[in-house]
Amino acid sequence: MSNESLVSSGEANEHGYRPFTLGGFHFDRDEHFVHITWPTGRHEAAIEPFLKALMRDVAWNFFYGTVNFDAVIGTLNHYGNVDLFAGRFNQAYREAELDHTENFPHDEIKATFEAMLGDWVNESFDPFAAPQETGSAYGLKSGANTAAVTRTRIAANRMVGLPDDEPLRSDESGYPVNRMFADVDQTEPHVEVVPGFESEVSAFNFFAYLSRSDVTWNPSVVSVCRDSLFCPTTEEFILPIIHGNDRVEWFVQLSDEIVWEVEDRDTGKPRAKVIMKAGDCAAMPADIRHQGFSPKRSMLLVWENNSSELPGQIARGEAPVVPVRF
């Protein structure tokens, strides 16, 4: 699954897991924890939330901005190379000068993280699944779940369901309706097409498509209007990372409810709680970090601007922090 030539690893320990090294960072796991060391410190974290965060970081290709695994460890995407940091966005670590950051080529850090997932995720655990839909991440090494950790992120070129684009989901294709969306209407729209326009006259049941998602907190691209991407996702339990924005993104709550804890991106000081119910629309400013809590599986439309101009604007400090002023 990964480019092993870029991965620095060793022999499996007494728990069955291989250690990994990235520059000055060293990663070990045992039955319960990941142990991370770097030249100025160390950090321990429960292995299950760590693997869930690692999974998102890899699947999202380090995403837009900062992916905080917790209050200490995370990555910062520079779109081509990636910072791995400890304590960089933690005021106490910075003031104690215990924070540490190293920059890696994208392919090197991705290959290492992929190899870590491949070795550390046991057969019964799916890091993308809701807590009640998967086994435990804990314990001695027990097989692998390659299919789960190598899922391809769905990204439509134009719109899901069009000819030659991403297919719809169905029982037959391995996407049953999720237990918490059993009441979602599965009726498809009525489409009458004049012959010759089959590639343009198209519609699908967006809510039914989402009700069949087999992952949580993992947006997929469903429709594309130039650089405007509709990235809906289904959410249950807690967003496994704390996303630090480098650009404005938008949330549109399509069903049920999510509560977002919003903190200052750099210091972690609380700024707001955003309670979103069906029909609510809210921006996440470019200078915050956020984590969502979804009591019931809900449908969230994440709306992103994927403009290739944005990384340059961000680097020059020209990207807007808030989408509009009024």
């Binding site: 519609a203 069903s255 119910k277």
Partner: protein, 215 residues
């Protein structure tokens, strides 16, 4: 201390102004109310048997509950918080009111009621029906009606000449492609709501101060 505004807290609009201490108490009460209203908690009260059925809550013009921004140390306007059903409820038929904007891109909440004008779009747009039922007619114009480099759809005067492409009858949760360079017209027998993924155009209405939480 929380300085949450009235939006989304469920406070009666006619209630007298509260002191900061009242605000704190009010927010705590609302938190408790939200908790005890949660299906899991309600079920525990009935004997603690796990729920076997879940109810997915969607919004509509007739029934929606709005959340809100509970401020700790921030300006709620930074979150540009609104509710698309509330916006559509206060809109005229077919008004294209932006409820989200990211540089040139927008999401528009459209109250669909009766029959719209014909419009032509220079780029793909996507219409997601979030309440009701909307019939969408598509037409390939005989001659180009819009610069393909333009942004946002344009109204077409009268009936455009061209070839019918087809018709979509879309209910709640259905997404329809409105293809680049093509014309479309929508109709809804009953008030419905469309969320449109598009680019800000000449008919996009920006009225953030009217629709968003300010305090």
């Amino acid at each position: 201390m929380t300085r949450a505004g009235g939006v989304g807290t469920g406070r009666p609009s006619g209630a007298p102004k509260k002191t900061p201490a009242d605000e704190c108490i009010w927010n705590r009460v609302q938190q408790v109310v939200r908790w005890v209203q949660h299906p899991h908690v309600r079920n525990i009260d009935k004997g603690g048997v796990p729920l076997s059925k879940y109810t997915t809550v969607f919004g509509s013009l007739d029934h929606f509950e709005k959340g809100g921004v509970e401020v700790i140390n921030d300006d709620p306007k930074n979150y540009v918080f609104s509710n698309m059903f509330e916006v559509a409820k206060g809109s005229k038929p077919w008004e294209k009111v932006a409820v989200a904007k990211n540089q040139e891109y927008v999401l528009e909440a459209i109250r669909a009621e009766g029959t719209s004008e014909w419009r032509v779009t220079p780029h793909d747009e996507f219409a997601l029906v979030v309440d009701g039922e909307v019939v969408i007619e598509l037409l390939a114009p005989t001659a180009p009606l819009v610069d393909p480099g333009a942004s946002g759809s344009r109204a077409v005067k009268g009936e455009p000449e061209g070839s019918p492409m087809g018709t979509v009858t879309a209910g709640r949760g259905h997404m329809t492609l409105l293809p680049a360079g093509r014309c479309y017209r929508m109709s809804a027998a009953k008030p419905s709501v469309v969320l449109l993924q598009t680019i800000e155009g000449p008919d996009t209405i920006l009225r953030w101060a009217d629709i968003c939480q300010k305090f």
